[in-house]
């Protein structure tokens, strides 16, 4: 096909060279290959989200929200309509926020120690910090359960929180450490040369410069904690059902539209957060 188009263009040129050449769609793709590839990749990435959003407006026949029936705002008007879902969501948020706060504080302290000081066992800690990331979640979840069971620790909110802090910690450390490594130590020397004592140097120079790393680490920790299923499932009690557990459980019996409502809300929230972050970042460098 492309050959015939090419000859067609040649004859057109011969006949009327002044007239604008007709461009085939293939020529357009060839000239804008990067844009085309990027658009396709973006569609591939966003399609599942679009489906989630779309089906939050569905009114399914029966219990399963898998086929499109007709548009309805029922689920949006009654987001807690599915029994038990909002309780699970509340628990997930509570665990996510608690785990994020603890993991971010501990992780930031760890990152400063690893990034700034030379001490015995530093390289060992550097290596071990990667271990929770590298361990398969099934292994981590089951071994944590073994630990809790052998110590007679009752499963529930506490055990889930401990488990979540554990795997979030590594991600915070790695993110913050990268930021500290990129921080010029001469900036702190310059601050102390300019009459700032240790505390002022930390609050006015070090912390503001490391803050983007800490924020990124905290966001990462929250999203990891919020959607964790495997580790949580091992260490939860029947009364402590998190949102991912609720979704999984309901998928056996029927999926309420409200799940899509929560999914859409989370997606919009995340996009808004990123957009604000970008906007603030751009304002700052201006």
């Amino acid at each position: 096909m492309s050959a015939s188009v090419a000859t067609g263009r040649q004859t057109a040129q011969r006949r009327a060279p002044i007239r604008r050449r007709r461009r085939s769609p293939w020529a357009f793709v060839r000239d804008n290959i990067v844009w085309v590839a990027a658009t396709l990749a973006l569609i591939y990435l966003l399609l599942p989200n679009v489906i989630v959003v779309l089906f939050s407006f569905n009114k399914p026949n029966g219990r399963f929200n898998y086929t499109w029936q007709r548009f309805s705002l029922d689920a949006w008007k009654n987001p807690c309509g599915a029994p038990g879902m909002c309780k699970a969501l509340g628990l997930s948020l509570k665990i996510g926020i608690s785990a994020t706060i603890v993991a971010t504080i501990l992780g930031t302290l760890l990152a400063f120690a690893l990034g700034r000081y030379r001490f015995r066992g530093r390289s060992a800690v550097n290596l071990l910090i990667f271990l929770p990331m590298a361990t398969p979640e099934v292994v981590m979840g089951s071994s944590l359960l073994t630990l809790f069971a052998s110590r007679h620790v009752g499963l529930g909110f506490k055990t889930i929180l401990v488990a979540h802090i554990l795997f979030c910690l590594s991600y915070v450390v790695v993110t913050v450490k990268a930021r500290i490594a990129g921080l010029d130590p001469r900036l702190e020397q310059a601050a102390s040369d300019l009459y700032a004592n240790e505390f002022q140097t930390f609050t006015r120079i070090t912390l503001p410069l490391v803050a983007p790393g800490i924020a990124a680490g905290a966001l990462l920790a929250f999203s990891l904690s919020f959607d964790d299923y495997i580790v949580t499932n091992f260490n939860a009690s029947p009364s402590s059902t998190t949102f991912p557990m609720f979704v999984w459980g309901s998928a056996q019996r029927g999926t309420p539209v409200q799940i899509n409502v929560i999914g859409t809300a989370m997606f919009v929230l995340a996009v808004t957060a990123v957009a604000i972050g970008q906007f603030v970042g751009r304002r700052r460098t201006r």
């Binding site: 010029d184 001469r186 900036l187 020397q189 310059a190 601050a191 102390s192 040369d193 300019l194 009459y195 700032a196 004592n197 002022q200 006015r204 120079i205 503001p208 410069l209 700052r284 460098t285 201006r286």
Partner: protein, 371 residues
């Protein structure tokens, strides 16, 4: 500063260094990289603890105090501007930490002095190298420190901008009257700006004095070679005639003023700067101008390069040494060509003598920028 010593493990960066810097002067610490000049500066700033020795400013001792307790500010080589603050906030930083009154006026005044007023709201990343350099300077001088330390602050700038900033620095120093201690490896920069230069080598001060004195009368081969270029010719002291010393060369003799010859030394190096030597065609006639008291005959021009301002010759003596000669361009009627047989002449007052028991090539460094 007295008996300052700093060691890093087995390496002695600064070795028993003592010096006094007069208040209000522009003082340069000049030396090749790794000679300990930056370490010295960092010890004054408090960023490095001396292994032994003390540092005083006026009558108060600084040794052992924290950097933020010292009336000293530094202009870092990398500028170290705070990237998250505007130019104005960078400059105000030191004043605010000491809860000074009138921060706004003081900052605005300094920004005006350094011609940064229009850039006050910008972030460091939006400035050129020269502008960043001025911010670093403004951030330090706004605090009116007893001593301002400059750690190769012009190193990152291109040649033209560097020349411009040298003048600017000198102007600002004169205007604010602070004591500037400037660390540099660029001898031209040190000579242009400083009232007093201390030439440092391997953690010690080789020689200290005003630029002209250092240039005209270096006391070590290192100083002679590092500050400008020198021809060092081996000779033996023969006799004293009046107030000059006669020294024997492999062929012929040279005279050097007694005051410029180290005492009690027999084997000397007679030093002469290339621009002080005059070339005469052999046989010597009046055509090439007056002949100096010292002559070295039988030289052969082995290289000549015309560079406009002057012509640089390399002349091989009868005993095989290569002598550098720079002749001012005062008409190109009488240039010498490669292969010419010439006599070199120079005044006895222009020569200096050094103890021959030193490394003749000390201080000659390959500096790609100087070529």
């Amino acid at each position: 500063m007295s008996s300052l010593v700093k060691t890093f493990g087995p390496f002695t960066a600064v070795d028993d260094l003592s010096l006094t810097i007069p208040q209000g002067s522009f003082f340069a610490l000049l030396g090749p990289s790794g000679c300990g000049k930056t370490t010295t500066l960092r010890m004054v700033a408090g960023l490095e603890e001396p292994t032994s020795g003390t540092i005083h400013i006026g009558s108060s001792e600084l040794t052992g105090t924290k950097p933020y307790q010292r009336p000293v500010n530094t202009v870092f080589q990398s500028y170290a501007l705070f990237p998250h603050m505007t130019v104005w906030d960078n400059v105000a930083f030191g004043l605010k930490r000491r809860s000074q009154a009138n921060v706004k006026k003081q900052v605005d005044d300094v920004l005006e002095l350094t011609e940064l007023t229009t850039l006050a709201k910008r972030k460091p990343a939006q400035l050129s190298g020269g502008q960043q350099q001025r911010v670093a300077l403004a951030r330090a001088i706004v605090n009116k420190p007893a001593v301002l330390l400059l750690d190769e602050p012009l190193g990152a700038l291109d040649l033209k901008l560097r020349r411009q900033m040298q003048m600017e620095l000198k102007r600002i120093q004169t205007e604010v009257g602070l004591t500037f201690v400037h660390v540099t490896h660029d001898q031209e920069e040190a000579m242009t700006m400083a009232d007093t230069i201390a030439v440092m080598n391997a953690g010690r001060i080789e020689q200290m004095g005003p630029p002209a004195e250092l240039y005209e009368q270096p006391r070590t081969t290192f100083a002679a070679n590092f500050l400008g270029q020198s021809n060092l010719i081996r000779a033996t002291v023969k006799e004293r005639v009046g107030d000059s010393v006669v020294a024997a060369l492999p062929t012929g003799t040279l005279r050097v003023a007694v005051s410029r010859v180290p005492e009690g030394v027999n084997e000397i190096l007679v030093g002469i700067r290339p621009e002080k030597i005059k070339l005469h065609d052999e046989p010597v006639t009046a055509v090439d101008g007056p002949v100096g008291e010292n002559t070295i005959t039988g030289g052969r021009v082995i290289d000549a390069s015309f560079i406009g301002v002057s012509t640089q010759y390399l002349v091989k003596t009868q005993w095989g040494q290569e002598v550098m000669v720079f002749e001012q361009n005062q008409g190109i009627a009488n240039l010498n060509a490669v292969g010419d047989l010439v006599t070199m002449s120079f005044s006895a007052d222009h020569a200096f003598a050094l103890d021959a028991g030193q490394d003749v090539s000390a201080g000659i460094e390959f500096d790609p920028e100087a070529l």
